[in-house]
């Protein structure tokens, strides 16, 4: 962060702050937990162990195994639950950004490059949607579609595409007027060729930056929906759902809500930190 003033400006620009490395480390752990955790320490939503219910972190369960993070109100291991929840968060976060990003890219390219009435129609649709609180829209959609992992991804992608579309449109709009694009047009290149070869490359970077930030927000949105009972079905683990089900136990078994809530906060914070660093690195104006 505090680079000595005497150091060469070029070096200061390249230096990655320590917090970014920490955040990247945490995220790597999180991805690893999401990928391997459920394999190594499987979570079975159906299996219950009533004699071991509500054990505090570090207790021994009925069958002698150690419950590192305690057990929930049905005697299921909370660590396994949180690991399984991390996979849901990861899947929803990435799938939503890919789906919403793809839709946003398409819409943004069309409206930014062609302008005119397609731009007017698409942008106004986007404005209308942005005027409506995204979480309300998500609640409405999730309520109609019903609880399932696929439906959450669809729901959240619908609420997110506008953000990507706007970023891409802005880039496409400025790239359209660049001289090399004009030259390509004069040489008789088709719209498709110009879009793919000349406009698209300048859209990637802002899109990726927006995507990184959105991954974290999507995870929070998924947890919010699951908290409200509109997210994953009963037999799947989700951090939001676990927080929600544990809130009656805040006075007696605090760990049920606290552990997944901390995990969510940590991961979203780290995604934000990495997103910031990525944007700083990719945008030369940030150094001015």
């Amino acid at each position: 962060m505090s680079a000595p003033a005497l150091e060469a400006p070029a070096r200061a620009r390249r230096r990655t702050p320590r917090r970014t490395w920490i955040a990247l480390g945490v995220l790597a752990l999180f991805v690893l937990a999401g990928l391997l955790g459920p394999v190594l320490h499987p979570y079975d939503a159906v299996a219950t162990d009533l004699p071991s219910r509500l054990l505090p972190p570090g207790s021994r369960t009925e069958d002698g195994s150690l419950a590192w993070l305690g057990t929930d109100q049905l005697g299921r291991d909370l660590l396994a639950n949180v690991l399984a929840g991390s996979r849901v968060s990861l899947v929803v976060g990435l799938a939503t950004v890919v789906l919403g990003g793809a839709a946003g890219l398409l819409v943004g390219l069309v409206s930014g490059y062609f302008g005119g009435w397609p731009d007017a129609v698409l942008s106004r649709i986007g404005d209308v949607q942005l005027a409506f609180p995204s979480i309300l829209l998500a609640i409405l959609l999730a309520g109609v579609l019903g609880p399932s992992l696929t439906n959450i991804v669809i729901t959240l992608a619908v609420t997110r595409w506008v953000i990507f579309a706007r970023v891409v449109r802005a880039s496409a709009l400025s790239a359209r007027e660049l001289e090399y694009v004009n030259s390509a047009r004069l040489l008789g290149a088709g719209h498709l060729r110009i879009l793919l070869r000349h406009i698209l490359p300048s859209c990637w970077q802002p899109l990726l930056v927006a995507g990184t930030v959105q991954v974290g927000l999507t995870m929070v949105a998924e947890a919010s929906l699951s908290f409200l009972g509109l997210g994953v079905p009963v037999d799947e683990a989700s951090w939001g759902a676990t927080v929600s089900l544990g809130r009656d136990y805040l006075g007696s078994a605090w760990w049920i809500s606290t552990v997944p809530a901390l995990a969510l906060a940590l991961v979203v914070l780290c995604v934000g930190a990495v997103g910031d660093a990525f944007r700083d690195a990719s945008d030369p104006r940030a150094q001015l």
Binding site: V46, R53, V213, L217, V220, A223, S224, L245, G275, L288
Partner: protein, 508 residues
């Protein structure tokens, strides 16, 4: 650091989303603020929301939360006081022939709007309740007519001898004849009870004020405020810091938080509320009693009730709680997964089957945990059950249209009499769970007719045995209701049917 438009937006949005989760908790707490409640009002919260106050609304005819308010706002001809029936709006009654009952009404009773109670009102109310198809309908089917002999005498004629009539009349709320079908009764109903409705927001709060000209003597507190607090933890906090005077039922897992609290005491009573897990007998494979019994054997009910509820519930020995008239203890189904698997094999289901279980979380304490524990036990014998935790409205809709495989819920024997649950729910005609048994119908009809308590009790005991042996459902636990109340309340008696007499409650 420079300006960071992207992350500023991101943070704001993050906070908005995080705030949403928190506001869900806070909104629940807002209900207890009850700024509108007058000074000295009793603030009492029940675990389920009140949605409608019209006594003849089909959906809420036997809804527990609604009944609590109805008992305070309306009167009935007959009331239940402890084990006995006591006069309400009817001063006295007699059975003049096996199929006729004559009720003599109290004189000088005034409704909240100032009009006087006459026999015509009672007749109109009976007609109305008979014309609305609801969960109460089976109780009123045998009542052919009611006639007003004079201003204060009503004669009920029944198609068959109906011994249960006085008990059933504890559910017939009397309103002025001209208002029986008035839609305004849903929001601001007129009755003759100890309290009148001062304000009502469905699923949020009911504000009642004292009816000073009540015939039975005026209530001891000037007003009652009944907020709905969706969050158990918020409700408990409100009770502990004095925002609530009374809270029930307190879930078993949260009892320890309340018991130790300063200024709060807990009173418990074995309730008439119990869990039932019905099988839809009109759907495969639950048409086969052997399969239903196997499902029961697969669950360690004893262990489950002990571990999950502790002192908060008792294992059931019949399809109704042991304190209800007509209960007869049956042999418990032993926990035997091997026998259950064998029975499934013999029933032609060697590899188990797939089905679903529906419930709504607010139906009772630990409902979700109970459902999941049973699903867990069933998976051991190869039966894969999809958990369907749904909204109450959707649940009611599906329950009433028989659109379910298995259904978990609590049920309260509101009248303390087996006729209300066994007699009402399990006849072939009621068809609540696709179960039809002509032999049982005959026993229930006979019990309905019998005027003698012992005779009725014996016949309902027979019905208990049939339902238990046929395993129409699993009957795991009767709840022990825990009421949490501030120490300065006096005159409170815990009620087994979740409907405590709040007019008798005072502050010390």
């Amino acid at each position: 650091m420079g300006t960071r438009p992207v992350s500023a937006l991101a943070r704001r949005e993050f906070l908005a989303l995080a705030g949403l989760g928190a506001s869900g908790v806070l909104l629940g707490a807002c209900g207890t603020g009850s700024g509108a409640a007058p000074e000295g009002a009793l603030r009492a919260a029940f675990g389920q929301p009140v949605t409608d106050l019209d006594p003849y609304k089909a959906n809420t005819a036997v809804d527990e939360a609604t009944l609590i308010v109805k008992r305070l706002v309306f009167d009935t001809l007959v009331r239940r006081e402890g084990e006995k029936l006591a006069p309400g709006l009817a001063r006295s009654w007699e059975r003049t022939s096996p199929t006729t009952w004559v009720f003599h009404l109290r004189r000088g009773v005034q409704f909240h709007d100032g009009s006087r109670l006459t026999a015509r009102d009672v007749v109109a109310c009976l007609k109305r309740t008979r014309s609305v198809e609801s969960a109460q309908t089976p109780l009123w089917e045998p009542v052919v007519s009611a006639t007003a002999d004079d201003a204060h005498t009503v004669t009920f004629t029944t198609s068959v001898p109906l011994g249960a009539l006085p008990v059933n009349l504890t559910l017939l709320f009397i309103v002025p004849a001209r208002l029986v079908a008035d839609p305004a009764q849903s929001r601001s109903p007129v009755g003759s009870g100890p309290f009148r409705v001062a304000g009502f927001t469905p699923s949020t709060t009911v504000e009642l004020e004292r009816n000073d000209s009540y015939w039975g003597g005026r209530a001891r507190l000037p007003a009652v405020s009944l907020p709905f607090v969706a969050e158990t933890s918020s409700a408990i906090t409100a009770l502990r810091n004095g925002d609530l005077d009374l809270l029930w039922p307190i879930p078993p897992d949260q009892l320890a938080e309340v018991e130790g609290a300063e200024g709060v005491r807990v009173e418990t009573v074995p309730s008439w509320t119990y869990y039932l897990s019905w099988f839809n007998c009109s759907r495969k494979p639950f048409g086969d009693p052997a399969v239903r019994r196997a499902m029961w054997q697969a669950v360690d009910i004893g262990g489950l009730v002990r571990e999950l509820f502790g002192a908060g519930a008792e294992r059931m020995t019949a399809p109704i709680p042991s304190t209800v008239l007509g209960h007869r203890a049956q042999h418990p189904y032993a926990y035997d997964p091997a026998a259950a698997r064998r029975a499934l094999r013999e029933a032609g289901l060697p590899r188990g089957f797939r089905t679903s279980l529906m419930w709504f979380d607010a139906t009772g304490p630990l409902a979700r945990e109970l459902a999941q524990a049973m699903i867990s036990a069933w998976s051991e014998i190869g039966v894969e059950v999809e958990p369907q935790s749904i909204e109450k409205a959707q649940w009611l809709e599906r329950l009433n249209t028989l659109d379910w495989d298995m259904n978990l819920q609590t049920n309260t024997v509101t009248t303390g009499d087996a006729g209300f649950s066994v007699g009402r729910l399990y006849t072939s005609k009621a068809n609540r769970l696709g179960y039809a048994n002509p032999a049982l119908d005959a026993v229930l009809a006979k019990a309905d007719r019998a005027a003698d308590e012992d005779e009725r009790s014996r016949l309902y005991g027979d019905a208990c045995k049939t339902l238990w042996d046929d395993a129409v459902g699993i009957f795991p636990a009767t709840l022990v209701t825990a009421y949490g109340l501030r120490r300065d309340l006096a005159g409170f008696t815990p009620a087994a049917n979740n409907q405590p007499e709040l007019a008798d409650v005072a502050r010390r």
